[in-house]
Symmetry: C2
Subunit: 233 residues, 2 copies
Amino acid sequence: MKVPYGRAEIREILTECVRLSGLREAYVEVVCTRGVPPPGSRDPRECENRLYAFAVPFVWIADPEKQERGLDAVIGRVQRIQPEAVDPTVKNYHWLDLVAGLYEAYDRGGETAILTDSEDNVVEGPGFNVFIVKDGNISTPSRGVLKGITRRTIIELASELGIPLEARAVTAAEVRAADEVFITSTAGGIMPVTQVDGAPVGDGTPGPVTLRLRDAYWELHRDPRYVTPVRYD
Amino acid sequence: MKVPYGRAEIREILTECVRLSGLREAYVEVVCTRGVPPPGSRDPRECENRLYAFAVPFVWIADPEKQERGLDAVIGRVQRIQPEAVDPTVKNYHWLDLVAGLYEAYDRGGETAILTDSEDNVVEGPGFNVFIVKDGNISTPSRGVLKGITRRTIIELASELGIPLEARAVTAAEVRAADEVFITSTAGGIMPVTQVDGAPVGDGTPGPVTLRLRDAYWELHRDPRYVTPVRYD
């Protein structure tokens, strides 16, 4: 697909979206679509790729109250679509596995789902990356996942704070045995997971590494390196 | 998901679609959507499932001229989404793998793509099921595929015509070594594939089993068991 605008134009479109919305706390999304082929054609080369963008009031995967106590996650039996079929590093809307995982989580008394690949490694959940902390070391899945912006920020923050972090295969068993588990997303930042499959993670409250990273993450929102100012009227 | 109408109502909606369109050769589609959750929610249980349907002029996966000589198919390196992630027996729009397969086919000089699973068994292509004929026996993949209506019709027809047919795992190597290959879809019926990966299938022309089934298939359109009449004004 060919994004019909350059980076500078997209930046302009997005800041304009936020400015026009008047929102001070916005969730901003930009999507490139393939477009539709002429009637009767099924040839994707005949589609004109398009771009749309919107700003809405900030969306939380988990509301701030839920984040205080931490989320109840279920490791789903549904597998995440494999990278050999759809490249997960390109954010996309192939979410039926993630939605099926959510239904499974609700059925099993959870609030969200963490999906695995065919080898029982955890990969990601509906809209978020996953991290575990064990004996002071952070790990996050390296394969079969979106390389999310918030995920990258955590990797940078861990480095700055001197906390060891490794991107590698992480098994479902490791998630269940972790001292801390947290998830990351543009929609909510860093969110503690305090129960997995109905059992507490560590002592069942948000852990110190998670909270330290969360504070550092929100602190970055005041850092000019990470901020694009919007000139409201 | 909960389809918001019963079978009789859907039949009424679809015949009404065709009647209103005035089309004598229509492609009719009915889709159940999850719907959208309230603003700010990501909970799929809060969506109101909906149904839409449309009739358009008949769509051919391959136009009749192309069907006469047979299609050039490429066995894609992209894998089809695995059944453990998304149930292929429920027709859905998770097509990024199929579209990527199409691009790969075009790049390699083909016209359409046949995708495999992680074990190099062929499964399906963009909107169609796959059949091979070897030594008078028909085979079609049993797993990882939509159980298409046209596929089922072929299974019934083969039985009526006394041609042995087995639904089983079919390897990519078997497709390349087949006497005949054909694909089936509502959008086009039974279509011969006369080249696979740039090499001719059999003698490179549509084979006798394929043509016999194709004739029998179109013949069925006059059989009241398979026909829903539309009362045009």
